[in-house]
Symmetry: C2
């Protein structure tokens, strides 16, 4: 059975929310409470979870620890993913120091850039390698995910290098779509920060008084 992309997105929202509840020491949560945090309905939550089996008894609420563990297994499959960053500019450097990735088991282990001034340096303890060595280094270290933060005009130069590698997934922060051949081979998730602005300005304008 194919699970809709929107369900996977929401499941990952529930998981991140459950983790925060767990940190606060909360042990049980109802679908109603969870819906309050995640901009969805209790019915939607129950439907989304039903794709993956049964979770807890009706009316009793979900056990936060158990549900966290189950959703983590569904989404993540393995304990640690090795991740690299392509583009050691300001956004790339900021993400290299971003703690939440490591906490969740996505370990940034290397950066890549084409600037000779940057190659060989460290950011947050991670080495910056030459982009030319991308296929070789990623295979050697066992990196499967790349975060793409290069300038828009560098995309054309970067794509053939990425295509030659064994990388499996890309989180793309560049506001441009990768070409269809790359996207067929490598799973790509676009993170468009400007898009968030559009959503927010719509929500501001249409906010209901509560």
């Amino acid at each position: 059975m194919e699970i809709p992309f929107a369900t996977i997105e929401r499941i990952s929202t529930y998981l991140r929310c459950l983790k925060r509840l767990k940190e606060k020491g909360i042990k049980k949560v109802s679908s109603r409470e969870l819906s309050g945090f995640t901009k969805t309905t209790p019915e939607q939550i129950r439907k989304d979870l039903s794709y993956f089996g049964r979770f807890g008894k009706t009316g009793a609420g979900y056990d936060v620890s158990i549900l966290t563990r189950k959703l983590e297994r569904i989404l993540k499959h393995k304990k640690i993913w090795n991740v690299c960053i392509i583009g050691a500019g300001s956004l790339g450097s900021a993400l290299a120091k971003y703690n939440a990735f490591k906490t969740e088991g996505y370990d940034i282990v290397a950066l890549f850039d084409n600037d000779p001034q940057k190659i060989g340096n460290n950011i947050g303890g991670k080495e910056i390698y030459s982009i030319e060595s991308f296929p070789e280094i990623t295979e050697k270290i066992g990196i499967e995910i790349a975060i793409l933060t290069v300038p828009q005009e560098a995309i054309e130069e970067i794509e053939p290098i990425i295509s030659k590698s064994k990388i499996r997934g890309i989180i793309n922060f560049v506001p441009q779509l990768l070409n269809i051949k790359t996207r067929r081979k490598i799973t790509t998730l676009d993170v468009d920060l400007a898009q968030k602005m559009y959503i927010l300005s719509y929500l501001i304008k249409n906010k209901k008084e509560e």
Copy 2:
């Protein structure tokens, strides 16, 4: 009629995609082509757009320019939004230099921090103000949107200051939910970068061969 949040999210994806097509000089796009770029179905696109009226004739495809302009008006309402960043750390500084916001008409005009070493400095030509002056400065400059990039432990200190201001929307990069009182008063959109990792690792594992 209330429009589902998921529709607004998708509409903003369509808009960003249309803008890229426009940059490439593409004048017409079918719902099928648009669906290929946006991980959704042609039926979903037509349904989402139908909330906002009729766009183009069946079978003829959408006029990229017209649809772009219409969706922009629906989501954005006005030409320029003034935006500030709370937390002039590495992520905040990177976002202050992030061009795509400006291109879309979301203009970052100020930063706020509590570090006396940073206050008074400039990042990308924008002044860093003391967080204490947040309600006053945002009102004076006419800032309605704040991007929150403070460390997690600073949230408790920051929330009462934000609550005193006339800010209308927050893009929250801190992996912690703001309290319910703040969220009732101020429209909040959480951007959870670690969540993207969960989605990507799921998609990698479940990628269909094409």
